[in-house]
Amino acid sequence: MRRPFLSRLAGGLALVSLALCLASAALFFLGRIPEATFKLGFLLASIAWFVLAAGGKMAGRDEGPTG
């Protein structure tokens, strides 16, 4: 069953996660956060990306009459 709102919400949050991946690297480059924090932040934001992007795709997919 298609859930356009959930799909859009998850897609938007997934993009935020991807931006967080880049932001954590930028903050480390600028010396604002230590390396360990950057790597942990990157890992968590990456997991969030996969969960939200895959979830968004699933919510947006039309499973057909039996789905």
């Binding site: 991807l18 880049l22 690297a25 010396g31 890992l43 996969f50």
Partner: protein, 454 residues
């Protein structure tokens, strides 16, 4: 023999039957689809190796940036002016268009060559993933110049990964394709974030004031590693141009562009070239310099972004090896009529896994990419000649189809003859394809013209 060839080509035709008819207008796709497709397809595991090799081959920073800019622009123009126009005019895949021109026998040979080349490429991608997974188990990566497996651990890890990739390709290729769509943007972010995070280690200050100085003296310093040939601007330009030679000049991306509304959609290939074949290559160069120029994609990504980097390299190999395995299986299915898809994928996967355990294929990836393009390039020249030059010179087109030839002997002779000439040319491997393409174009046209005058 001819009966056997007839059976094989009939089986091959059945495999590709679904795209035998030209694409109808209602199936045409928007430009955005092409941009997305190219952006997702050209950030692969091999980018970790290619960018790093430019550092090891001692390319200077200025040569690299200029070479990548111009070479990738030439690749985009090749898609736009060579591949897309033929695809849009015919609305056919290369397979079916080639069949009209060279006959089913030569198309069959082309398919087999393509399948074998795909297996080697997928093997290289598995090897790249193995460098990441091996890191978890402390398995050393084979040294530059290695041909044979360096340790039992390396063999075990490549066999395990090859078996896993093959199993997934058999059990759920379509699911993995959807997963690959999700993974592609993140893999690109791994490259960009990895390079950004590696810069402080190389001494780049947060205000970027010394970025160029570090790039030119600590990353692309113009000094080749021991045992590696020195490359310069022309090598980089040529490599960036021919990296996807089989797809643009070799015309295999007719399969994509037959869905384009206009031939100018070839320009959308820039969305794959500049992020994937420029930014990702530059990023992997930064990462390899940051770990002391050791060609170890797993370590490069791990040092740069941590555990996520190991996942990034593994996924990059996995998501790109699988479609390659699938294509190899599809091409190989032609020689095994009646075999189910799983059995063919198993054969292709087994061959690929064996190849992956030989590190030479990923340690010589740049040369392999050149050979891959060279082998298939003459076929693109033959199709180009038949499509554009024959009507101009009033030479009859599609004689193989009209006369029911199994083999267009002239085309086969030009293909093999061109390969013999290009492999004998006293030029660097990277510079042979362009004269080869001209040789194939001129000799195929000349043979057809001579036949007409007789």
């Amino acid at each position: 023999m001819s009966e056997r060839i007839g059976r094989l080509t009939a089986a091959m035709d059945r495999l590709y039957e679904y795209d035998r008819e030209p694409v109808s207008p209602d199936k045409l796709q928007s430009g955005g689809k092409f941009a997305g497709l190219f952006a997702g397809e050209h950030v692969a595991a091999t980018e970790f190796v290619i960018g790093a090799f430019f550092v090891l081959h001692g390319v200077g920073a200025r040569d690299l940036i200029l070479g990548l800019l111009i070479g990738n622009l030439l690749a985009v123009l090749s898609w736009t002016f060579i591949c897309a126009p033929i695809a849009v005019r015919t609305r056919l895949t290369l397979y079916w268009y080639l069949r009209k021109i060279v006959g089913p026998g030569v198309t069959f040979v082309y398919n087999i060559a393509n399948a074998l080349l795909y297996c080697v490429l997928a093997g290289a991608m598995i090897s790249v993933s193995a460098t990441a997974v091996g890191l978890l188990f402390g398995i050393p990566v084979p040294k530059l110049g290695s041909v044979l497996p360096s340790s039992l651990g390396w063999v075990l890890i490549t066999v395990a990964l090859g078996a896993a990739f093959t199993a997934v390709a058999i059990l759920g290729f379509s699911k993995l394709s959807r997963f690959a769509e999700v993974a592609a943007p993140w893999i690109f972010v791994v490259f960009v974030a990895g390079a950004l995070a590696a810069l402080p280690r190389l001494g780049v200050t947060p205000d970027l004031g010394n970025l160029w100085e570090v790039a030119a003296t600590r990353i692309w310093d113009g000094v080749a590693e021991a045992g590696q040939a020195k490359y310069g601007f022309w090598h980089v330009l040529s490599f960036a141009w021919f990296c996807n030679l089989a797809m643009h000049v070799g015309l295999s991306d007719m399969a994509l562009f037959r869905y384009a509304r206009k031939w100018t959609y070839g320009l959308y290939s820039a969305f794959g070239m500049f992020p994937g074949h420029m930014l990702a290559w530059l990023a992997s160069g930064v990462m390899v310099a940051a770990i002391g120029r050791e060609l170890h994609p797993g370590l490069m990504a791990y040092e740069a972004v941590g555990v996520a980097g190991i996942a990034g390299v593994t996924l990059a190999g996995w998501t790109t090896a699988n479609p390659t395995l699938y294509r190899a299986g599809l091409a190989l299915q032609a020689v095994t009529p009646g075999w189910p898809r799983w059995k063919i994928t198993l054969v292709a996967g087994t061959a690929t896994t064996v190849l992956a355990s030989f590190p030479v294929f990923f340690l010589k990836l740049l040369d392999y990419v050149a050979v891959y393009g060279l082998v298939l390039m003459p076929v693109g020249a033959i199709v180009f000649a038949e499509h554009w030059l024959f009507p101009l010179l009033k030479i009859e087109q599609y004689r193989a189809e009209k006369r029911g030839w199994t083999f267009n002997v002239a085309a086969l002779a030009v293909w093999l003859g061109t390969l013999a000439v290009v492999f004998a040319l006293p030029l660097h491997l990277y510079f042979r394809w362009l004269p080869g393409w001209v040789i194939a174009l001129v000799s195929y046209t000349a043979l057809a013209a001579a036949r007409r005058s007789r």
